[in-house]
């Protein structure tokens, strides 16, 4: 259908230290014992998108990801890996592959996306509206099932991340305004011209930008060329396109609209008040037809329409962009979003690899996953956790609400709660971890207790 796909796999994200390291770039972080990138690739494969361009930040990461992809998807996908420098940003990544882009529309997907919204839906919406840009918006998953378990309360305490403010037209098809949470201070400034054209705008703060975009190639490349300072797609390119959607029309119709006519549009409410409620700012003006007039014949003025595709509520959609998100996603994927993995749950609602060995009186609760060749000693208890491959776990170990990666050794009597334990970690006897992240290869000495800590080896650079 004349689409090209660019997957932005990122490099070693700062947000995810200590989970990521030189050896494990962000794209290869395991989610339910599979690299997170595999979910995106399989989503694309399911939609029959087999020619991909993979953009990776950093040489090492590129090598690792490239070798993993070539191993795992040898005959299934045709992937080209492009390497960019660490600080190129997402827009920089696109710039680097710009000369490879030939199709009329480009689908840009973030490598850390887990969702089951078919990319075809976004592409179809994009084509239907003949849009310049279409973004997938979704309602972020409610983190953590509310359970009476000991760990349940922890999640609730977490604050929702910074909210994006998104303005939509009344048909919920057009993006009129975008501001990411970080930029939003007390005021939200909205262009008067856009309001006038749209007549009505719905401001929502309960939507998440899933970083799945469809772009018109020519416009995208034009913007990337014209604005060499743009770093991020989300923070720079998308807002720019949304802001300038009327501009092109104004130029073509010959009546210059004041594009920079910013106006403080009396909405000085606090961010928090937006959450989960929607305000209709202005209901006047019915010049909608100008922006959305498709009633007439087809030769409507060329306009850079920015559209949004809002994922249906029942679809799962999440991004792995923080440590909190990492544990949430792991839990969700083993639990309610299990269909993403393609595994089927056993009768106990969990997934235990046939080669895993369990000691006597060891219980593995629902929503758990045990990887290949892992061994558990006696009287262990595992709840809502994912345990990777070839882990050796001693007796009387409790693992609750945690992620344990591959080749981890856990000795007797440890308690691990709401934590992430990376590969090759060695936990000695009677270690107690709560809300901790343990970096790869770290050794936790016997009997130590850590709470809300980040443990990692000093990088020997």
């Amino acid at each position: 259908m004349d689409f090209q796909v660019v997957v932005l796999a990122g490099g070693t994200s700062k947000n995810l230290i200590p989970l990521v390291s030189k050896d494990v770039p962000k794209a290869l972080l395991p989610v339910a014992n599979r690299p997170v990138l595999s979910y995106v690739l399989e989503l694309l494969e399911a939609s029959n998108l087999k020619d991909l361009i993979l953009v990776v930040e950093g040489q090492d990461a590129a090598l690792q990801i490239g070798s993993w992809v070539s191993g795992a998807y040898a005959d299934r996908l045709h992937v080209e890996v492009a390497t960019v420098s660490d600080d190129a940003g997402t827009a920089g990544g696109l710039r680097a592959v710009a000369h490879h882009l030939t199709a009329s529309d480009i689908l840009v997907v973030s490598g850390d996306l887990l969702c089951d919204v078919p990319p075809g839906a976004i592409a179809a919406a994009h084509r239907r509206q003949d849009a310049t840009m279409t973004a997938l918006l979704c309602v972020p998953p409610v983190s953590g099932p509310s359970e009476s378990g000991s760990a349940g309360g922890k999640d609730k305490a977490k604050k929702p991340g910074p909210q994006n403010i998104i303005g939509l037209d009344s048909s919920k098809q057009f993006l009129l305004f975008v501001a990411s949470g970080a930029e939003v201070e007390k005021d939200v400034r909205i262009q008067r011209s856009i309001l006038r054209a749209a007549g009505q705008m719905e401001i929502r703060a309960d939507l998440m930008d899933a970083h799945l975009y469809a772009f018109n190639r020519t416009v995208l490349l034009e913007v990337l060329n014209e604005k060499p300072t743009f770093q991020s797609i989300k923070l720079d390119v998308v807002p720019y396109l949304v802001r300038s959607q009327l501009k092109s029309e104004a130029l073509s119709s010959g009546e210059p609209l004041k594009e920079e006519g910013w106006n403080e549009n009396g909405t000085t409410q606090n961010n928090q008040s937006y959450i989960s409620e929607q305000h209709v700012i202005s209901t006047h003006g019915f010049l909608q037809q100008r922006l959305f007039g498709s009633n007439g014949l087809i030769g409507a003025p060329k306009m850079r329409k920015c559209c949004a595709y809002i994922a249906p509520k029942h679809k799962y959609c999440a991004r792995l962009n923080s440590i909190q998100a990492f544990s949430d996603i792991n839990r969700d994927v083993i639990g309610e979003a299990i269909h993403l993995t393609g595994y089927s749950l056993s009768s106990h609602n969990n997934i235990i690899h046939p080669t895993a060995e369990l000691g006597t009186k060891t219980t593995v609760g629902p929503h758990c996953m045990l990887g290949e060749g892992s061994q558990l000693g006696d009287k262990c208890s595992v709840k809502r956790s994912a345990i990777g491959r070839h882990c050796r776990i001693g007796s009387s170990v409790k693992i609750i609400n945690s992620v344990v990666m591959n080749h981890v050794t856990i000795e007797d009597g440890c308690l691990i709660q709401s934590s992430v334990v990376c590969s090759n970690v060695h936990l000695q006897e009677r270690v107690i971890l709560k809300d901790c992240q343990v970096g790869a290869g770290y050794v936790v000495s016997a009997g130590s207790q850590h709470k809300a800590d980040s443990l990692a080896r000093k990088e020997k650079a």
Binding site: N48, G120, R128, S294, L297
Partner: protein, 662 residues
């Protein structure tokens, strides 16, 4: 003879026809037989001498017959003759079935000779004659008639009697096969004999020559149909036959002869299909619906509560199709249409594009793009392959939304252009030609036509007029705007209706231009009508009986206007005209989304129809079109001028053929 007469009474119409056909055939059986034997030699000479079309010999009788009996006035006299002519068939009835004596069989032959001549009687259109002609062609096998007659019976009202004739034959095949063969040869002779009436001979020969010449030109087609056509045709014939005839088919025919017969039989069959428009898909026919589903890219899901009267229309849940299409967006499928077509389909589905002209233009432009990107696959011919492609695109578009008549006309035009492409053109030339054809169609038939219509219609607007329009027709909007630009002083009443409320968009645009408007809903139409001086309406199509097929509600507006003696002007481009005749809006219509009826915008408290689909006793009907009888239409403004509705067939006849040829 008495017995015969009685039997004649029983099968009266048949007898009459037979008598009619063979007026001078035989007053006495003896004479008849003698003649037949004498003619046998001559006919046998003729048969081999002819080419594969040797059966052409038989046509003469048909043509000849109308000649002696040109006017219906003569019928009564034929009736007088009837006892004579009727002799044979009645004999066959009595003689053949109870006794199997050879003598009776001789008489049997006569009914055969009579049967084809029945077909030939002047009551039948030339087309039918053609058909039977080719049927009788080869050896005039008994089962030829068996195949033919039931088909006739099913397709032609008069022939209901003819089925009875074919029943008579039934006993025949039960005899030994060999006997049947002889029978056939016999049967052909008397047939020839009748045709050979001395005074008609010369005339027949002349006609035959003309016929042969004309067939020669169509010969290629027949040859093509020959090979591949035989089988399907055989099937067709079988299925058409009532069960008893099946029996006679099997033993009777020798293979070579049948294949020839079938091959020859084919082309007229084809012609018939061309002439009679293919029946529209009836969606209460489960078998065909299943079949269509298998072919479709998107599996349509059907609504629960169908309205009984409208079961034959496509009824799909509107919400379910879009996600299905979306999820298949990237799948490479043979059925998958070109991206441009796909986009247009999606736009139809979501209602982004609506209105006859916009939809038609969007479709044509998508086809234009598709043709631009088209390359001829290896070992294929552009004409055939591209037609197939276009067909698949069209069926995709139909799954998104049923085609409008205007789109049907445009597609017909495009296909005609493809078919007419000369074989010598190179690929790029052919593509360029098609693209320019399409843009010419858009320009001439839609854009220019609109301009002409506006010019015409504006002359009907005078200062002080109050114009009423319904819904949102783009031509009417152009007219109003143009009249406003000319400085005419008038007022506009925009009538609207739920659930689409298309009038609001029109109203907004008119107000933006500075026209003074009144906005009402259709239920207030009778109150406003007395101050209206003209009604301007758009149309989706105008049918050849003058019926205007348009957005639902148009008929109501036109009727009220008629009652108030307000002239109703329909503005419609001529490419939307169609030769079809439609008397009501039931047989062909489009169903909208029933959910649109249950929701009232801005009134969340009006939720009495929530979950209406769960109530078996409730059915919602959201019709999209209705048919306005021509009585209510004062004038139709088209690109060929302002015409009364009675002149539509003239335009269809005189101009639409030509527009296919542009």
């Amino acid at each position: 003879m008495d017995a015969r007469r009685v039997s004649r009474m029983v099968i009266d119409p048949k007898v009459r026809q037979v008598g009619f056909v063979t007026p001078g055939a035989s007053s006495e059986p003896m004479k008849h037989i003698i003649e037949s034997s004498s003619m046998a030699s001559s006919s046998s000479e003729l048969t081999p001498s002819g080419n594969s079309l040797s059966p052409v010999m038989i046509p003469p009788p048909r043509h000849a017959i109308p000649v002696p009996v040109p006017s219906p006035l003569r019928r009564p006299s034929i009736g007088d003759n009837m006892p004579l002519g009727s002799y044979n068939p009645s004999d066959s009835l009595l003689g053949a079935s109870p006794t199997i004596s050879p003598s009776s069989r001789n008489d049997d032959d006569n009914p055969y000779s009579g049967i084809p001549s029945v077909d030939l009687s002047d009551e039948f259109s030339p087309r039918w004659i053609d058909r039977t002609n080719s049927g009788t062609i080869s050896n005039t096998k008994a089962d030829d008639f068996g195949h033919k007659l039931p088909q006739l019976a099913s397709s032609f009202p008069f022939s209901s009697n003819l089925t009875a004739v074919s029943m008579v034959k039934m006993p025949l095949p039960r005899r030994g096969a060999g006997e049947v063969e002889t029978n056939h040869s016999m049967s052909s002779k008397p047939l020839k004999e009748k045709t050979s009436k001395a005074e008609r001979r010369a005339l027949q020969e002349a006609q035959r020559a003309a016929k042969a010449a004309s067939k020669e030109t169509g010969g290629d087609k027949q040859a093509v149909a020959f090979g591949e056509g035989a089988n399907p045709n055989a099937k067709q014939a079988k299925s058409a036959k009532p069960p008893p005839q099946k029996k006679d088919g099997a033993p009777g025919a020798s293979s070579g002869a049948t294949s020839e017969k079938k091959g020859v039989d084919r082309p007229p069959e084809k012609e018939r299909k061309k002439d009679v428009p293919a029946p529209r898909m009836q969606f209460d026919d489960t078998q065909r619906v299943e079949k269509a589903k298998r072919r479709a890219l998107v599996k349509p899901t059907e609504t629960m509560n169908r309205v009984e009267l409208f079961r034959h229309l496509p009824q799909y849940v509107h919400g379910a199709q879009l996600p299905a299409l979306e999820s298949k967006f990237f799948e490479v499928d043979q059925m998958h249409p070109h991206p441009a077509v796909y986009r247009v389909g999606l736009q139809y589905l979501t209602g982004d594009i609506s209105g006859g002209n916009a939809r038609c233009v969007a479709m044509l432009m998508a086809f234009q793009e598709a043709i631009k990107d088209y390359t001829i696959p290896l070992e294929k011919v552009l004409i055939r392959d591209l037609t197939a492609k276009i067909n698949s695109y069209v069926s995709f578009l139909i799954t998104c939304r049923p085609l409008s008549i205007s789109m049907g006309n445009a597609i017909k035009f495009l296909k005609a252009r493809i078919a007419k492409l000369s074989v010598t053109l190179s690929e790029s030339e052919a593509k360029a030609a098609l693209q320019s054809d399409i843009s010419r169609f858009i320009n001439e038939k839609i854009v220019l036509a609109d301009k002409v219509i506006v010019r015409h219609a504006v002359t009907k607007i005078r200062d002080g007029d109050v114009l009423l329009t319904y819904g949102s027709s783009c031509v009417v909007e152009m007219i109003l705007c143009y009249a406003h630009e000319l400085g005419k002083q008038f007022r506009v009443v925009v009538v609207d209706s739920r659930p689409k409320l298309e009038g609001q968009a029109l109203l907004r645009r008119l107000l933006a231009k500075g026209l003074s408007c009144t906005y009402i809903h259709i239920n207030a139409i009778s109150y406003i009508m007395h101050e209206v001086t003209r009604v301007f309406l758009g149309a989706s199509s105008v049918l050849s009986n003058g019926t205007v097929y348009s957005r639902v509600g148009t008929a109501c507006v036109a009727m009220v206007a008629h009652a108030f003696h307000v002239p109703v002007l329909i503005c419609c481009e001529a490419y939307k005209f169609h030769e079809r005749v439609q008397l009501d809006s039931i047989c062909s219509n489009e169903l909208g989304d029933p959910d649109a009826l249950s929701k009232v915008h801005g009134r969340k408290d009006l939720n009495h129809l929530e979950n209406w689909a769960n109530n078996e006793k409730l059915q919602l009907l959201n019709l999209t079109y209705d048919a306005t009888p021509s009585d209510y239409v004062s004038m139709i403004v088209t690109d060929y001028g302002m015409v009364p509705p009675t002149s539509v067939p003239v335009i269809v006849r005189e101009y639409l053929r030509e527009h296919l040829l542009i």
